[in-house]
């Protein structure tokens, strides 16, 4: 919308928002506007880097309760103002960007731990809580969420729910959707609803799953009950070097097929082993680095570790890198994301994450790699396989241009071309457009290709829940304003 501040409608709407949440919690200043105009998506970063003004919100509203969220939604419906929920702003897909101005619903004030239930092993919290703060609070009570994504320090729990985030221990403890027991949601029209209190039932379709991954397009998740876990007695890691990615993949799949319960497995392809494992961990080897870990009672961990190492040794590794190299990975797992280890301007880079079955994941990898390297010879393609399931695994591939075109329009065009081609190649081979970063603004245009006729089902749900299309319009493949 982008109303001028001297427009009387702007002031009228502001008055209503102030009535809803309090004067100090409605902000339209330039500093916060700037902060909310850039997230972790490369395009707005590049836009800012080129000295241009990314799209800013008209209002940044900080609700303090579910009821206040509901009031804001009703005001937004009344005036048909776009509302974009914002958690920690660390999304890489542009999902929280206020592309049509309007209201940024910054959820960080809703940061309370409501209850830690030690009989059920669950925690109920407001969704604006910083994920690290929640983890610390749960740890203080002697438990853990076991959700350790790279963005733990910056993202809110609501952000993870919105795009189905994943932490480094997902192989044992699951993605965020596996951790959720139930949700409280404010619908786009301002009703407060709760999903059923248990995650497994036969009482109709699962509304919890409808909202998870909806990226703020279907409502605002305001409260969540998550599973928690006892802090394990032991957590141990081990690493192997394989001559190539295929043999390492065979070993990794073997670990999953064995039905052992690793808490983490990560496999880096040759180029990423050479680039990042060397730079961050100081392990300078040619080949594919495979690391895995187990946690729980120490005796069980040792037993599983012994069996897992046997599986890897039988898969003809180039080198047994041992426990120390495995522990180094765990201890430095966040370091990869700090500057200067993380890719940064003037580079152009993106994470082409996807997921496929074990039968297809290597084809997906090669299809993406060949597409990037053939069509964009100046780009580097690296990848690792981060999150492993009984049936397949996630590919965290990245492309990096050392320098993007200076002209912002050319840079954006190049960037989008890489995504379009690489993701289409992945879909063709049985991949999907994303595994745990979401769709957002970045990949919305590919949703129809991925879903086919099923996209109409999503669109109909959106229309029903959000008749005025105010919730995060233009994201996740839904129409804009």
């Amino acid at each position: 919308m982008q109303l001028a501040k001297d427009n009387y409608m702007y002031q009228m709407i502001r008055c209503e928002l102030v009535d809803a949440v309090g004067k100090e919690f409605v902000n339209s200043g330039s500093a916060d506007g700037l902060g909310h105009s850039v997230d972790y998506y490369w395009i707005p970063e590049m836009w800012h880097d080129r000295g241009l003004e990314p799209q800013k919100p008209d209002f940044v509203v900080h609700p303090g309760s579910t009821e206040e969220v509901a009031k804001v939604m009703k005001i937004a419906n009344q005036y048909k103002i776009p509302v974009t929920p914002w958690g920690g702003g660390s999304g890489s897909q542009g999902g929280a960007l206020p592309i049509y101005g309007g209201i940024i619903l910054d959820m960080k004030r809703m940061n309370k731990v409501v209850e830690i239930d030690t009989r059920t092993l669950s925690v109920t919290c407001e969704t604006g809580i910083n994920a690290q703060h929640l983890e610390w609070a749960v740890e203080k009570a002697g438990y853990s969420t076991m959700h350790f994504p790279a963005s733990i320090a910056c993202a809110t729990i609501g952000g993870f729910l919105a795009h189905r985030g994943t932490g480094v221990l997902s192989t044992k403890y699951g993605k965020i959707e596996d951790m959720v027991m139930s949700l409280e949601v404010v619908t786009p029209t301002g009703e407060i609803i709760n999903t059923l209190p248990v995650p497994r039932h036969a009482s109709g379709p699962d509304l919890t799953m409808l909202f998870l991954g909806s990226e703020g397009t279907l409502g605002v998740m305001t409260k969540v009950t998550l599973k928690i876990h006892p802090v394990p007695e032991a957590r141990k890691f081990h690493a192997f070097l394989f001559p190539d990615m295929h043999s390492a993949m065979t070993a990794g799949a073997g670990l999953m097929h064995s039905r052992l319960q690793p808490c983490a497995i990560r496999l880096y392809d040759g180029p990423e082993t050479a680039k990042l494992i060397k730079r961050v961990l100081g392990i300078d080897r040619e080949g594919a680095y495979l690391v895995f870990g187990f946690d729980g009672p120490e005796k069980i961990v040792d037993l599983q570790m012994e069996r897992a190492c046997e599986i890897c040794r039988n898969a003809n590794p180039k080198e047994d890198l041992g426990t120390k190299s495995g522990e180094a990975w765990w201890n430095n797992r966040y370091k990869f994301f700090y500057p200067p280890y993380m890719f940064h301007m003037p580079q152009a880079f993106g994470t082409l994450d996807t997921v496929a079955t074990f039968g297809k994941i290597e084809n997906v990898y090669w299809a993406m790699k060949n597409t990037v390297e053939t069509n964009f010879p100046e780009a580097t393609f690296i990848g690792h396989f981060s999150h492993w399931y009984d049936w397949g695994c996630m590919l965290y591939a990245r492309f990096i241009f050392e320098k993007a075109p200076e002209d912002p329009a050319e840079a954006a065009a190049l960037y989008n071309r890489v995504w379009d081609m690489a993701i289409r190649a992945a879909i063709k081979e049985g991949g999907v457009i994303n595994e745990h970063h979401g769709v957002g603004l970045k990949l919305g245009r590919l949703m129809k290709e991925l879903y086919g006729p099923a996209m109409h089902v999503l669109e109909d749900i959106k229309k029903q829940l959000d008749p005025n299309n105010i919730m995060n319009p233009g994201k996740m493949g839904f129409k804009g304003v």
Binding site: A31, D32, L34, H48, G51, A153, C154, Y334, H344
Partner: protein, 346 residues
């Protein structure tokens, strides 16, 4: 512009979220701008568009910072002790703001008032000097406790009382005036011919040790925080039953990098220290490193103190900082400085 000396920091921090959970001001107001990333984006914007230095909201945001250094300290942990100096960037930006003349009126006023207090007097006799600054003076129990401990340790000392020794001017962006005051104080101290200068305020310790070194000013005395001085006395203390929570000083932990003497002194006293809040990384000082935050922004200071009150469940809190002692006491928390706790434990 001074921020041009920090282009690496701007480039690193403007799109980096990795330390935002440690931004106390960011949590107090929940504003996206009140994080290292938010402030680096502002600095970058001003770097590219210098006219934006007149943007009142940008300026206000830069002066809202608590300068706690927790984020920098966290970043150090991932860069072999050489993390990105986001505090340095903020101080540089404040200098630029002051030089552009776009600082808020109350910043000018506070700077002028503190500069006028740069005058000191000495009382007593001895090789040791004990400096009490504004915050230490506002809580007379601190100097009284120090006197009791010194007496027990049979140490004779001279008391220096007076005002600004440079820190306030520095944090407000008046680096040149800060340096001038620092020179004046150094000349005063060096003229006294003492061997040791003890300070109760960690802000004063950081000023004398780090800022003066940066200014190229030599102090011909060994500077100690009172915790070091008292620990060196090796006094005998009564056994303590009560458990306490120790609030790390922003200056002694994040600026001086884990100054060891508060912990050493607590060990000597035999204090049973319980953790504060949920973690050891966040700042619980309520704005200690911004030094004059209660004058600049009393509402924000109250929010920071309120946040600490919500986070801690310790019955008795200890601090090395007279600022934190006063600010948290105002929020109805039971807080003592290390001097007071040590003196009570004799």
């Amino acid at each position: 512009m001074h921020i041009n000396q920090f282009t690496e920091v701007i480039s690193a921090c403007r799109f980096c979220f990795m330390c935002r959970h440690l931004s106390a001001v960011g949590q107090a107001g929940c504003r996206e701008a009140d994080t290292p990333r938010g402030r680096a984006l502002i600095a970058d914007s001003i770097r590219m568009h210098p006219e934006k230095i007149a943007d009142a909201d940008f300026v206000d945001t830069i002066y809202r910072s608590d300068l706690a250094g927790s984020n920098r300290f966290h970043c150090d942990g991932y860069h072999d002790g050489k993390g990105y100096d986001e505090v340095g960037l903020q101080l540089a930006l404040r200098r630029d703001i002051v030089e552009a003349g776009t600082q808020p009126e109350n910043v000018k006023k506070i700077a002028d008032e503190f500069e006028k207090t740069a005058d000191w007097k000495v009382e007593g006799a001895g090789d040791v000097l004990y400096f009490t600054d504004r915050y230490s003076q506002s809580t007379p129990e601190i100097a009284q406790s120090f006197a009791k401990l010194a007496e027990k340790g049979a140490v004779k000392y001279r008391t220096i009382s007076g005002g600004c020794i440079g820190k306030v001017l520095r944090v407000l962006g008046y680096a040149d005036r800060s340096k001038a005051v620092a020179k004046k104080f150094a000349a005063f101290i060096n003229g006294l011919g003492a061997k040791t200068l003890v300070v109760s305020n960690p802000a004063a310790y950081d000023t004398l040790v780090n800022d003066y070194k940066e200014y190229g000013i030599e102090l011909k005395v060994k500077v100690m925080h009172s915790s070091e001085f008292i620990a060196n006395l090796k006094l005998a203390y009564k056994p303590i039953k009560e458990s306490v929570g120790y609030i790390e000083s922003d200056f002694l932990k994040n600026y001086v990098k884990n100054y060891p003497y508060p912990a050493e002194l607590l060990k000597q006293i035999g204090a049973k220290c319980e953790p504060i809040g949920t973690n050891i990384e966040e700042s619980y000082t309520a704005g200690e490193a911004a030094v004059v935050l209660p004058l600049l922004n009393p509402t924000l200071t109250g929010q920071l103190a309120g946040q600490v009150a919500k986070s801690v469940d310790n019955e008795l809190l200890l601090t090395a900082s007279p600022y934190t002692r006063r600010t948290l006491s105002d929020a109805n928390l039971k807080v003592l400085t290390l001097e007071e706790f040590a003196a009570q434990s004799l």
